[in-house]
């Protein structure tokens, strides 16, 4: 256990009880907290699965091929941020910037798909108000989308810092933290895609439910 000082100078200063920087520990603890946040929403979704009394039901709405594309893009962005961090640490700034831009673009594509999906659902009459499926689906996916959007803002901020020279290999920890957050949000999406889309998409009219007659 090394001595500690309160002043922070340049970059990551490891001068504490564990050797893990305070910032990184904070991010891990925050992600633990966020697990409970998403976990409760996912639990709500599962508890209310097949409990809607009126349509549209998952089988009427979800489109797995389209969401598979956006899922693929989001997962690839995790690879992108690994590379962006790798090149930043090696001070290959051109490649670091390029990959960070690609990650941001992939995040925006994912959000674009989500906007399309939501507006399509609203168009065919699936809203948060229409039934339990709508309520649980929209809260979970839109809060995940909010996490992705916040991540994009954060990465844009870091990209700006790469361009004005404030983010270098010395303080690569700042990109690493954003990366931890980004990976976490991706992992949550894997669970959401598995549960809300792959497993749920076949759910038709539950016992006691009224078949849906809307849509196209």
């Amino acid at each position: 256990m090394a001595n500690q000082g309160i002043t922070v100078h340049h970059g990551e200063e490891i001068n504490n009880s564990t050797g893990v920087s305070n910032k990184k520990l904070l991010m891990w603890a925050f992600l633990g907290s966020d697990v409970m946040f998403f976990g409760t929403f996912i639990g709500t979704f599962m508890a209310y699965r097949n409990k809607s009394l009126v349509g549209p039901y998952p089988a009427d709405t979800l489109d797995i091929p389209i969401t598979s594309v956006s899922t693929f893009v989001l997962l690839m962005s995790s690879l992108g941020i690994v590379l962006a961090l790798h090149y930043l640490k090696e001070s290959k700034m051109a490649l670091a910037k390029l990959w960070l831009i690609l990650v941001i673009v992939m995040g925006l594509i994912f959000i674009g798909f989500q906007v399309y999906e939501f507006s399509h659902f609203a168009h065919i009459g699936m809203t948060p108000q229409v039934n339990l499926f709508g309520s649980t689906f929209f809260t979970l996916t839109s809060l995940h989308g909010a996490h992705v959007s916040l991540g994009i803002l954060w990465l844009i901020f870091l990209l700006y810092n790469e361009y004005n020279g404030n983010l270098t290999s010395e303080n690569a920890i700042d990109l690493e933290l954003a990366g931890l957050y980004w990976h976490f949000v991706d992992i949550v999406w894997i669970i959401i895609f598995g549960l809300l889309y792959l497993i749920t998409a076949g759910d038709g009219v539950p016992p006691g439910g009224v078949p849906w007659t809307g849509g196209h």
Binding site: G11, S33, S52, P128
Partner: protein
Amino acid sequence: MSSITGPKQFQIPRIFPRPMAHSGLWYWLATVDHKKIGTMYGIVSFFWFIMGGIEALLIRVQLSHAEASIISPEVYNQLFTMHGTTMVFLVVMPLSAAFFNWLVPLQIGARDVAFPRLNALSLWVFIFGSILMNISWFTGEAPNGGWFGYPPNSTVQFNPGNGMTYWVLGLNVLGVASIAAGLNFIVTIINMRAPGMSLMKMPVFTWMTFITSILIVLALPVLGVAGIQMTADRVYGTNFFNSEAGGDPIFWQHIFWLFGHPEVYILILPAMGIVSEVLPTFARKPLFGYTFIVFSGAIIGFMGWFVWSHHMFTVGLGPAANTAFTVSTMLIAIPTGVKIFNWIATLWGGSIRFTTAMLFSIGFIAMFTIGGLSGVTHAVSPSDAQQQDTYYVVAHFHYVLFGGAIFAIFSGIYFWWPKFTGWFLNERIGVVNFILMIVGFNLQFAPMHWVGLDGMPRRIYTYAENMGWELSNAAATAGGFLIALSVLVFLANVYLSSRKKVMAGGDPWDGRTLEWSISSPPPHYNFVEIPEVEHIDHWWYKKYPGLLEGSPKNNSEPSVEVEDTTNVDESKIHLPDLSYYPLFIGIGLSIAALGVLYSYALVTIGLILVFWGSIGWSTEPVNEPHEGDH
């Protein structure tokens, strides 16, 4: 948010210059000093303690005799809802946070918490969140659905108006404050300990803060989700708790208590930490079974997650669930009982000094034991069926939360006041304060046990004349006013003691932990030199090294003095500069939450404030470049 330090630091344009002076209003609004933040937590939450107390007194006045009509049923509903919510979220939690802030860095030998600005953010979000929730009194729509907000009583169909929406929004804003503080203390305790202070050499109060912080960051998000779902139901017409659309009101109970039971331990573990510091100091003995107390706290924190359905024994979960939760609830009484025996064993054979702080701690043990035992009686699900929703339950949780948490907090106030301020609170007035409080407390809550078992229901604004409950209720009301008197005596004590200060010095109680090794009040940098820790109760053994060889302490004089700060070159000690961004983010969050009720324009203004504050925060250097640096 990441903060970037470096020579080519860019900053967004400042609207106000960064405050640098260490005095004046700006200093208090922009301070990042954990001691100042702790003081503000304490003052603000004590204000809410008085407000919550007034709400309680109004309830007691209405119940003082049968069929009274002093307060209307509608206002009565608002009073008991806001009394519970205020005391849990605006009093016990932030008063504990005041102690966390003041003591954790001092006890672990650090100059500040890990993230001083995040700490300030927690404070301001808490303050504005508490104001947000109480604005509802002025619009005449204070929350009225009980502090646990059960649907359908809290759904918009049966409870129109803004009351319960204020409640969920307020809780969510306060949750942000708690989570931020919890994260901060987890990192602080893991990473900022002085050299040599391994986990099992940490003071018990720091340990309990650590466990509480873990519970906070895991439990408050669950409440946050419940709050978002209820807000969505009430404002946007979703169906989470709308049984017409298949939603299940019982589901709310599950998630609320999945948060709510860890919350109970969030309220009581800091109190247990305070008592574990006070008892050894005034028994002049080491804490009996330090390891057992620490691990019992950890086990309580862990098992607290598996008992939530004991709040729901009467909703019809079936015999299997009721049996399982009966067993888990009875099991959690074991580590709690272990702690009580350890505290008693700490007193055993000690040379006890009956200071006010000690009296409150002993009061804590007695009252908390009574409350714990009545808790075991409703762990048994068949007997709980008789007790559910009666005053017996009210008696139980006031014995653990007032007799437990508040007594311990008063003990902590009397114990650490000389450390916080440099002067003593008057001990004679303190004893009067204690006697009034413990007599008033028992007069108020003991009779609730028998009227409760006799069937007097909670949350009903009056009762019939022929039930035989009048004497007990009159006594309870009288007890309530005695408690109010004891709080006034405390305030008078603060005032009188400040008029004629008896200076305390750095180590007035012959203390054991590191906070007593420095002067009172501590200098803003806390420690001149970061101590090297070798033992539990390091300061105690540093004063009396002979104890380590087994010699009795008898009449030995301390071999070291508290740190002398007269010749310290403060330019060598770097502390973070002030920042006003946390204040504005706190204001922005509450404005945004208020906007959910009234207008999207407010939401936008609030979020712009939050965004601007976040960017400003992450681009401002921790320290402005000083003359002669680098």
